[in-house]
């Protein structure tokens, strides 16, 4: 599987796409969580977004992020500085709409902790 070519990663990060991808992920995930709490008539996100758009959406975000952060301190720093780690960790679940998302989350954690010990320390402190 490997990671993205370093130059491909840089082009993606320099054009602000990583930041936008993570912001969009956060916006969609927050919408997903808030719909049944804040809406006057509770409904699920699948009532708003049809299957074509929603199926494997989070999974694809995880695939993208895992590849972008692979041996890339700039991307890893961005995730750490902007507190996206716990957002990304919330996808370490089994989800019918996102098959293999748990596996991709493991790849992401591996890529994050491999070259940046601060993530490992943070995870160790929170979960162990």
């Amino acid at each position: 599987m490997g990671g993205y070519n370093k130059i491909v990663q840089e082009v993606f990060i320099d054009n602000g796409s990583l930041a936008l991808a993570l912001k969009t992920l956060q916006a969609i995930y927050q919408l997903d969580r808030d719909l049944d709490k804040e809406a006057a008539i509770p409904f699920k996100i699948t009532d708003v977004i049809e299957e074509d758009g929603y199926f494997e959406l989070y999974l694809n975000f995880m695939r993208l992020t895992s590849n972008v952060v692979h041996i890339n301190p700039t991307a890893q720093d961005y995730i750490y500085d902007n507190d996206y780690l716990f957002l990304l960790l919330s996808f370490t679940v089994v989800d019918v709409n996102n098959p293999y998302i748990r596996e991709w989350s493991i790849v992401l954690i591996k890529n994050l902790t491999e070259s940046k010990t601060i993530f490992f320390e943070l995870l160790f402190k929170e979960f162990l």
């Binding site: 993205y4 070519n5 130059i7 491909v8 082009v11 993606f12 054009n15 602000g16 796409s17 936008l20 991808a21 912001k23 969009t24 916006a27 969609i28 919408l31 808030d34 719909l35 804040e38 809406a39 006057a40 409904f43 009532d47 708003v48 977004i49 049809e50 074509d52 758009g53 929603y54 494997e56 959406l57 694809n60 975000f61 695939r63 993208l64 590849n67």
Partner: protein, 169 residues
């Protein structure tokens, strides 16, 4: 005749200068008429809804083409079975690659541009939905669903596109 030759030369020059073919197709789908000198004229007779559907289908097509290329490249058993005696496996592998889709750096940059603009548009739609306190579901459902469909399609294209770009850098 002379005019035709002149046009063909211009078209060839246009494509040889590393233009993004995906961008050109995207503009054509957007209702613009092709012009080698970049004087694009929009055809306003086509409805926006029709154009949007065609553009979304194009993104699906691009994703499928990428997937098919990766799949064919990974079918080593097929390659071995069909190797003629006078060719090495490597030669046939190279020939098989030619059957697949490939992209250039301008194409990749255009994909990134589309990704960024669709990310912004998705966040804007979600914000509008929130401002109305999740009301007017019937009104917002169409545009939100459409933009997330688009965004997801470009996300899938973006994920796979790097496989085709690595050989260029």
């Amino acid at each position: 005749m002379i005019a035709n030759i002149f046009n063909i030369t211009n078209y060839l020059t246009y494509f040889q200068t590393e233009k993004s073919l995906i961008k050109i197709i995207w503009r054509l789908l957007d209702g613009y008429e092709f012009d080698p000198f970049e004087e694009w004229n929009i055809n306003e007779n086509i409805e926006k809804e029709v154009k949007d559907k065609i553009k979304l289908r194009f993104l699906y097509f691009l994703h499928n083409a990428f997937e098919k290329t990766i799949h064919e490249k990974s079918q080593t058993s097929l390659i071995i079975n069909y190797t003629p005696k006078n060719q090495t496996i490597h030669d046939l592998y190279d020939k098989k690659r030619e059957l697949g889709i490939n992209i250039t750096i301008p194409d990749y940059m255009f994909i990134i541009q589309m990704f960024n603009s669709l990310s912004d548009a998705t966040m804007l739609q979600i914000q509008k939905f929130r401002e109305n306190n999740f009301e007017n579901l019937a009104e917002i459902k169409g545009p939100l669903n459409e933009i997330i469909d688009y965004f997801h399609a470009i996300l899938k294209v973006k994920i796979l596109s790097r496989n085709f770009l690595s050989s260029f850098i």
